[in-house]
């Protein structure tokens, strides 16, 4: 299992993103702990349909105290776990 390079503060954000994915997809703690930057999301996880993505975005907003605009959401964002974490970090830092 590869670790994502993080600073202390970002670790918390990455953990939140993992927990949101765990809750939406019904995965175990061990399964989401195995996610690394290259873990594919959209396309690889059939449960991640538009309804699930909508719920995921709202949960991320709620748990990270961020606001995600409509035009910030595209396919690339959900391509892999790394993209989603980078996006969450950038939003939380803004």
């Amino acid at each position: 299992m590869s670790e994502i390079e993080t600073s202390g503060a970002s670790d918390a954000i990455e953990t939140v993103v993992r927990q949101v994915l765990r809750d939406i997809l019904g995965l175990s703690e061990a399964q989401v702990a195995g996610f690394d930057r290259d873990t594919e999301l959209f396309g690889a996880l059939p449960e991640l349909d538009s309804m699930a993505v909508a719920g995921l975005l709202t949960e991320m907003e709620d748990r990270l105290g961020i606001l995600i605009e409509d035009d910030e959401v595209d396919g690339e964002l959900f391509e892999n776990f790394g993209n989603l974490v980078d996006f969450a970090r950038a939003k939380a830092a803004a």
Binding site: D23, A54, G55, L57, E59
Partner: protein
Amino acid sequence: MIRAYRFDGNDELCLRHGPETGPALLILPPLFDEANRVRHLMVETARALAGHGIASLLPDLPGCNESLVPLDRASISLWQASLIACTEQLGPVSHVAAIRGGTLLDGALGDLPRWRLAPVKGGQLLRTMLRTKIASDREAGIASSSDALMELARTQGIELAGNSLSPCMIRELDAAAPSEGSAVRLARFADDPLEAEARIAGAPLWLRAEPAHDPAMAKSIAADLAGWIRG
């Protein structure tokens, strides 16, 4: 046991579990799609409560579940009025337990003791539903935005994620927040670092992409509710 209550010229169904006397709990599940994902959990919780000797009402809201009323006739205020009718006819109830969007309705019966899990603002539920609409519009080659959709929805109503929502529902849902109450017991999941009066073993099943049931969670909720109601 399946009962019915009369509201606005229609019969709405309500599940009643437990003894005919003693304390009775009104159960308010999450709203819209989230309600469907935890239906099994809610019914099992009511059954487990009956095992603790606590009666409960689990009503259909007009426009939801088995109700024959079209959803576009419903609103937050209409749902609150239906809960008053339900508890007058099938109650009385002494306590209210609400999850997620159910907490937007739990002030309907005045300041009864309330139990809440994962309270949410109406605007947040609306935002998620708007996002599914934006995503499906995009797949159809239509560029839509939350602001433009909301403007339309406030005057003409809108269908979001299969839910026909009237202008009245849109306005009320957008503004709705869990009401202040003097006797609120806030429950959180065991792994939630935030403060809470009650801890539940389980996970937010209302978020699940694929509906699932967790028998242990139903038992955990029922045990906490029973202890709280018995004081």
